[in-house]
Symmetry: C2
Subunit: 451 residues, 2 copies
Amino acid sequence: MENDLIAGVNASRRPARRGIYLADIVDMLQEMPPARAASALAHMPDIRAVGVLDRPEFEAAPEILALLPVSRVIQLVTQMSDDRAADVLAAMGERAEPILAALTPGLRNTITSLIAWPADTAGGMMTTECVSISADATVAQTIEHIRTVERTRETVYSVFLVDDKNKLVATISLRRLITADPASPAIDLARDRDPITVSPEADREIVADLIRRHDLLALPVVDDEHHLLGIVTVDDVLDALVEEYTEDTQKFGGVEALDRPYLDTGMISMIRKRAGWLSVLFLSEMLTASAMQHFEMELQKAVVLTLFIPLIMSSGGNSGSQATSLIIRALALGQVKLGDWWRVALRELPTGIVLGGILGIVGFARVTLWQHLGLFDYGPHWQLVGITVAAALIGIVTFGSLAGSMLPFLLQRLGFDPASASAPFVATLVDVTGLVIYFTIALVILSGTLL
Amino acid sequence: MENDLIAGVNASRRPARRGIYLADIVDMLQEMPPARAASALAHMPDIRAVGVLDRPEFEAAPEILALLPVSRVIQLVTQMSDDRAADVLAAMGERAEPILAALTPGLRNTITSLIAWPADTAGGMMTTECVSISADATVAQTIEHIRTVERTRETVYSVFLVDDKNKLVATISLRRLITADPASPAIDLARDRDPITVSPEADREIVADLIRRHDLLALPVVDDEHHLLGIVTVDDVLDALVEEYTEDTQKFGGVEALDRPYLDTGMISMIRKRAGWLSVLFLSEMLTASAMQHFEMELQKAVVLTLFIPLIMSSGGNSGSQATSLIIRALALGQVKLGDWWRVALRELPTGIVLGGILGIVGFARVTLWQHLGLFDYGPHWQLVGITVAAALIGIVTFGSLAGSMLPFLLQRLGFDPASASAPFVATLVDVTGLVIYFTIALVILSGTLL
């Protein structure tokens, strides 16, 4: 329950709270057993039940609607916003068929065409319930039209002027309409540029970016011939952004994105979402055992080298994880393009060398200090051991920074989401190479003394 | 330049593009040398220059304004939205003083009071340019008032009814106003509940959550006595969310959040942002070297144990990173509260055991397979080595899942941002303990044979 949040923010100044917010009812219904929630929903006044069902965060809606009589569901679905109704009915699968069959043909067509678009595209996010009017209308006619249709439209703050073939001509805002001369043509209020539009196939990240860039309340979705199909509203974009970010964080942590909140995800499903990546990483990381086996002789001769393996390898993974997180966001925000990979590489190379150098100095100091303080004896060649550790750190941190920054580019180039470049993925990539770098440097520096 | 994006989306159907978008001008100005951008801005028509300056993504604005004559800056600042003007002048530091001094006293007071709030609070995000009117007004009076003030208000779609002491009484929407009977009192349009409000100290995450939860276009900011201070609009929240995500991703990757886009961040600043955390992690990870030194005798006797160190430790780090990313988001979305820590622990414990068991089986199979195929000789006690590896994996993955899921709770409890629980931080935490778990299990299982 997120009630605490609102209560927390306002508690000091609102001792007696009036009324109840739709968002709170959603929370309450989702905490009830589905059968009780269905009965509660059945007895609510229509306006409240529809308001609750229209909330995208009401994830239990399909399950609860399936428990209500079809006649009641029809009543509610008919009053819901069409994009949300399409999402809910799509999630009901086969159970939606008797409901779809009983809808009016017009609404059924609208909803089935909305269901056809994937949920994370502009088509899947849009509603057809927007205000559109002929481009010939006057300001007064447009305002009168808004008054008539207001109740059934998701937003009336953006008005879309269309020609006689329903092609989008211009977008105007209600704030300009109410301040304009009622007798003048509405189209005069459109600014001297084409309306910002998006195609129904566009990914939700592109939709979010356009709405954010141009401070829109609604973005019209048009087909190839510029026919107006619907609009995506800013509140849907906010929800999509939050969902997108949750998925990206989970991916970056090396988990397949969860479909439901953490505590509602079943144990089996939770294990399945995590075991996949964990096993893939484990199998790849097995290469480290192979690399170590390859250097078994050196390990036998100089056990002192093994003491620094976790330290050196983790530094490579950490620097890689830093570079990856920076590049994933820079790509997502469009601050860096695919073609910029070499500019990034040219920055990461010196950055990695300097960062590795800093850690190298600290590492060498540690060996020297422990040796002099008598905390540990690294043997007669302790200076050479220290130099090996320092040189390996420079090599591995540089490699980590380069590999971590290039991986998101590579994934994007191959058509994957750059956000799939998880921290564990990068660490694994760097670990295997890191071991080879460490032992190769050790062979060069310690050959003839320890090795 | 993000122009490609828009061009890409619409190219097919818009061969001859009319006009130019403000967001594109911002991009162009930011790519120019500051002196050229200043001269371009100086010669733009006021309406365009102000439109460009009002964009929060125009990060070079303070630098460019500092190059213009004060008289021109005054002209522009006076027309800018007051929240953005406050942000820009705050970023100009001392160079803003002559400008502030030359503003009208009213505007100067507004801007200095806005500058006083930290940028990531409701107070720092709000604008005072909202439509407020006496709670006694009729619908017709309210619409007439909106017509008069429209040009100078950030949004007119939410109207705030206040009493004679400027205390917020109700929020009504323009869409309800234009469909209502002009003679009726405006307050009749308010729904039967208190308006959603936020205090100026509230964090931007709370602001975003309230706006998203209640599908608001504007959220009123009120003080402890419920006086209306200003509003935060949905477009500012979209920008804040994207900025917040970028910072969180960078923190999760183990980098201090960058102030500027990746390619615009200077090399020195980039290294400073990364070296801090990298050094802290390196110093903590040094404990692994100490742990290994403690087990030096065992390492000498059974070099075969070292072969699996990277494999086992990385699995602990990976499972920890998975758990952390899940809990960070669950906490951010309010799906899990601080008091739920034990419910999470009770889920992570069995999850970790099962995940560790899966990896343990794969690990034991690997040792058996290599031994039988003659790829490597793990010695006469290879079964015991395999069992040690499997048992260590169960222990370490369980510990990783538990530690990774509890760390965000601990950080939140201590008043830190749970998003600071970076993947490298968790990996380091798990590495040191992981080594101790591994060698302890080895001592138990291999004592009398290898050890």
